[in-house]
């Protein structure tokens, strides 16, 4: 009989591997995904479908971060005891053919959770000790995890204690926190970043009634809007992908006016909202993308992102009952760029972007006219934009040929501010200060 070489992973190696590449923020969002999955199951159970206004009404999750402790609590139905024993703490999804006949768990319709790793990974990444308490209307359980003890033990299982059913929901408490995590999660800018990510990336769920609290404050959803009017209308097309049956919807257009020429190098506010979004089953997988994961390519047939394109926003929605057909990766915060369903959509996303690129080039020659037109366009929530296949942008009438000259010179910032103040607005753009002073000289000194 052939001899065997042992190939079991050590637990410590395993824990390091699964937590290595994930940020704390992503772990927190993973836990939020689990809460949402619970809510989706409940909604599907009660109403059969998630395609309803306010489908998530009544469901909430609350994140509490204190010194050396992290807690997420929800009322999203809880984890059934059988599921907890056979599935919820499993690393990966149990396969009935391989894992001794463990029954497959039916996935929630539109499930955003897919790989059965989020909760454990979050626990290992954030906490040294964890307590998971979950209750359905039928029963409840508690699991206490001491990460370093568990790493040393031989058993690939966690001790689970059954207890009396309480209000349905799950509470995960991590305390004390892992090394270097406490400082990070308690930094005000980290909390603000998580807040902004939740507001933006869970916007569609929150708009459907799901509530997320951080401490005592409720997170308001970011409102995606595109501008209509004055010759602008966003692209809005939808189709069913023939190979996969995935429903694809693309909306793209002007979210805000592009920057003035000359100010493109300055830090613009809200650029964190410009670019392409990919949304799978209401979950924003990549947000405000400005690189080759979406349309922007380096040296390819399509231009790479340039600050000149700021103001553009495009959203590509992918929806399917079967989450495995959607173009996303295990973290659910990245897309699978090689997925054919995504490749096919990308071609249409490029078409929608092309018009905007051309417009931002064209407007340089008609800046004043363009700004006036842009002001006429008003923000419309993306839900309410009119159905029109191609993005449309204003065209400019060719002006009678006047030969123009560009002036470019530098002055000290102090001098510029002084002149701007004298002109009545110390925050005037540099360009306008130049134009106004030139005009003044021309009016006063030139016949």
């Amino acid at each position: 009989m052939a001899d065997q070489a042992k190939a079991l992973p050590t637990k410590r190696f395993f824990v390091r591997m699964i937590t290595r590449d994930i940020s704390i923020e992503d772990c927190i969002l993973d836990l939020l995904d689990n809460a949402l999955d619970g809510a989706s199951k409940e909604v599907a159970r009660r109403h059969g479908s998630l395609d309803r206004e306010n489908a998530y009404d009544g469901f909430w999750a609350r994140i509490k971060i204190k010194d050396n402790s992290f807690c997420i609590e929800d009322n999203c139905g809880g984890i059934p005891l059988a599921e907890a024993k056979n599935y919820a703490f499993y690393f990966g999804k149990p396969d009935p053919d391989v894992n001794g006949g463990v029954p497959a768990i039916q996935t929630a319709e539109h499930s955003i959770g897919l790989y059965g790793i989020g909760m454990k990974r979050a626990i290992f990444r954030i906490g040294k000790m964890a307590k998971v308490v979950s209750s359905t209307s039928a029963g409840a359980f508690e699991v206490d995890i001491d990460v370093s003890k568990w790493e040393k033990s031989g058993e690939w299982a966690f001790d689970l204690t059954e207890c009396k059913a309480k209000t349905p929901g799950t509470t995960i408490t991590l305390s004390p926190l892992a090394d270097f995590v406490n400082e990070e999660v308690n930094s005000p800018e980290f909390l603000d970043k998580v807040w902004k990510s939740i507001a933006r990336d869970y916007s569609f769920f929150i708009q459907k009634g799901f509530k997320v609290f951080m401490g005592d404050s409720e997170v308001n959803p970011y409102q995606f809007t595109l501008r209509e009017g004055g010759g602008f209308s966003p692209a809005y097309l939808h189709y069913t992908d023939e190979e996969t049956g995935v429903r694809v919807t693309i909306k793209a257009g002007m979210a805000g006016p592009p920057p003035d020429e000359g100010s493109v190098d300055e830090k613009m506010k809200e650029v964190e909202y410009c670019g392409w979004y990919v949304i799978c089953n209401d979950r924003i997988v990549i947000a405000a993308n400005k690189n080759d994961k979406t349309v922007w390519t380096e040296g390819g047939s399509f231009p790479s992102w340039h600050p000149q394109y700021n103001g553009f926003m495009g959203l590509a929605f992918f929806e399917s009952q079967d989450p495995a057909l959607l173009p996303w990766t295990t973290t659910k915060r990245d897309i699978e760029v090689h997925a054919p369903v995504y490749r096919r959509a990308l071609a249409k996303m490029r078409d929608a972007t092309r018009e905007w690129i051309d417009y931002t080039n064209q407007r340089k020659g008609y800046l004043e006219q363009a700004k006036a037109i842009e002001r006429q366009a008003t923000s419309v929530p993306i839900k309410r934009i009119s159905e029109i296949k191609a993005i449309s942008v204003p065209r400019f009438e060719a002006k009678p040929k006047v030969r123009m000259a560009n002036i470019n010179y530098s002055v000290t910032l102090d001098d510029l501010k002084a002149v701007a103040t004298a002109l009545g607005n110390e925050h005037m753009s540099y360009r306008d200060v130049g134009i106004e002073t030139f005009k003044f000289y021309k009016e006063n000194e030139v016949d």
């Binding site: 930094s187 800018e189 980290f190 902004k196 809200e270 607005n425």
Partner: protein
Amino acid sequence: MAGNSFDVVNYSVRPNKNVERKLLAESLAALAPQFNISDYRYVGFGSMWFTDFALFHRTLQISDMISIEGGGEDAVRRAEFNRPHTCICVLGGYSTEVLASAIEDKKRSIVWLDYDKGPGEAPAEEDIEIFFRHASSGSIVMFSMNAHGERIRLRKDTGKGFKPRLEGLKDLLKHLVPSWVKEDDLKNETYPSTLARIFLDHMKSIPVRLGRTVKFIPLYNIYYRDGAPMITVGGMLCDKSDETTLTSLNLDKRFFYIGEEPQLRIEVPHLTPKEKILIDCTVPYNLRNDCKMIGLDGLGPNDGMENAPISREMLEQYVKFHRYFPYYAEVI
């Protein structure tokens, strides 16, 4: 405070600023000897007057001092002529250019960047980042900046009317504006504490972002006004051991002006020498009875204010800060 002409400040004397300087000096002195303050370096904007330098040299015995002077070569020459002590080195250049070289040699420092400008105009964000990258544990940083609400009331791009203040603040501070800030936090009365909150939170977050194992412990959140409303925020950069030492000093219990919240307001009243001398006789004793005794009755709480020569609010502000109240006299 009332808008009467006798309440309008003689800007050159700036009594509130004067009080603030003394508060800072007193609390910094309280850090010694645990923190060996006399061995620190002081870095500030001495201008031509060096008021803070002279005070800190005198009260903290610091003799390694650097004044950053961004006014060009002529200003540097004039500053060198005016420096009150030869231990002050005038370093020409903008803070953003030279601050790193002033603190990067691992010596502990007290850095007070007393800008006269507001956010977006003063390079506060850049300078804060430089400080947190280079300063060693035990170092102290303080930033003063203009907190006039009108400064974030910017004109719309069309030139007609004004943008909401939140828009204006985002134009000036960009990504630094956190999501909790609402229009109501930016009224003239609320803006100074909002601005301080934003910068204190920012300073607490930077060490983590820079991967430094030190922590920023806030000590100062002060509002004062001699003309333009100003705020000063600051604190100490601490590793574990400095944090333990700092905590053991109980500064927040010993000094009413130390702490992150609420914002301290320095609004000292302008008293005549006669008023001042009389009130000085009463503090810190039983204000009500003593006032009666010396003929200032009507000044105490619920004590027939209609007869009071000065308001209760003025009196309270004075009593709070009387130990730091400046004396001004003409010297011949």
